[in-house]
Symmetry: C2
DNA sequence: CGCCTCGGTGTACACCTGTGCACCGAATGG
DNA sequence: CCATTCGGTGCACAGGTGTACACCGAGGCG
């Protein structure tokens, strides 16, 4: 196995371990050592990949960001089915939450819990999400000759609802997911209707959660964060520790 | 100063310190020692008030719960002004968020971040909130002869929106709060309108909801944490530490 | 008054933390 | 094939952590 492959593999282990552990206790409460241990390397080995926990945190945020962006893409691709657009989008969302639960827990939980930098990064990400949804809604409204004045408000409200209920999915046993998804759809439609953006032929034929008919291949790797530095060779001076 | 007063005072200092510190880093990342130090007592003194951090956590949740309940009460008391009911309620909410920002940060941030017990306690609290709002909406709808089928959905959606935007207030500079509040009002009205619960003051002359001001069958009390033990005299054996 | 109660203190301990340092050994490239 | 690169290791250290223990001194009560 080439050296780069090996390094990348370990890096992923670190990221995944951090994700998994942060699901239980929150990222801020994790220690470098326990992440290293969970990844099967020594604590000092950690520094071959990240300068410190904060840097790991940023990478996690980045990962969330990409996941979200792909979510949007996926949702859009289902828009062809103009009928039941809302339902399809939400199905995509729920599907994604299932596939990457830890990422969503991070996104939703650390929005207020983490450091300032962490928070603003996540907020920015969510704002971007709102913007994209808003764009879509506006385009759709124009097509149908509907009012567009409340589009941004509706988008913001919808994201709030979807993320909040999405968070709830993480706590619920599997068999209750479908019910929650349906509630979600109905609530989103409430908002759309209130904003004069109602589009669906109020007609429910199939439960939402089961929208995994044409499963395409897993999401592309999509790496965006700068690959590990040439050779960090541990640096940084001692000082008051925030998390220690 | 009587001994009880003194003890209560220290207890409050501990609670407030925990609240304040958890605003920056999340409760899960706090250490017993730093809370004790911030409260001006030694680490071992902590045990005179709480058995461990988990117990402190429960007390905090309890505090949130009471705050929330008071919020509802306060909002209801403004319902007399039938005109602008939504606006008044949201004003009450925002006001409260300002007055107890740390509590809300806890409520919103730890909903996913903390331990399982922590999470479910907070979720239950929010559910209770939804239930109360739902009741109110239903009563109002019946008075006005409006449909009540989507009342619960609307309540859930509204709480999601209000809490999400409320969380945002915590991050924003003061001068942008008003704008956010207005957005909040408009988004909530979107939901109400979508659910057929629109209560425009334009054609409503009768004072809405001014009649009933008393208690009805309310959810059971949530106070679960016992007052300080007679004399804990530190116990609990050593073992694998979750936070430390 | 004398005794008891009990918040709060200070010390001590084992363990965990982040990180500097010297080192190893396999993949890499000339 | 030999020299270099560089993930990963083990050790060491200072400092933080939870908590057991013995103690103090002021409030409270007979």
């Amino acid at each position: 196995m080439t050296r780069l492959e090996q390094k990348e593999r370990t890096r992923r282990k670190l990221i995944d371990a951090a994700l998994e552990l942060s699901a239980e206790r929150g990222f801020a409460a994790l220690s470098l050592r326990e992440i290293a241990k969970a990844s099967g390397i020594t604590a000092t080995g950690f520094y071959r990949h990240f300068r410190d926990m904060d840097e790991l945190g940023l990478v996690l945020v980045d990962e969330v960001s990409m996941t979200l962006r792909q979510l949007v893409r996926e949702a859009r691709s289902r828009f062809n089915a103009a009928d039941g657009r809302t339902k399809a989008s939400i199905a995509a969302f729920m599907d994604y939450v299932h596939r990457k639960p830890h990422l969503f827990r991070l996104l939703l939980g650390e929005r207020l819990g983490g450091s300032t930098a962490f928070r603003s990064a996540l907020h920015a990400e969510i704002d971007r999400f709102v913007a994209e949804l808003s764009e879509d809604l506006e385009a759709q409204a124009k097509e149908l000759g509907q009012p567009t004045d409340d589009v941004l408000l509706a988008a913001e409200a919808i994201v709030a609802i979807v993320f909040t209920l999405g968070a709830e999915v993480l706590e619920l046993p599997r068999h209750r997911h479908a019910g929650l998804a349906e509630r979600l759809v109905r609530e989103v439609k409430l908002v759309l209707k209130g904003a004069g953006l109602d589009s669906s032929p109020a007609h429910t034929s199939a439960p939402v959660g089961a929208a995994r008919g044409d499963e395409r291949a897993a999401p592309p790797p999509a790496t965006a964060v700068a690959p590990p530095p040439a050779r960090p060779r541990p640096g940084k001076k001692p000082g008051p520790r925030a998390r220690g």
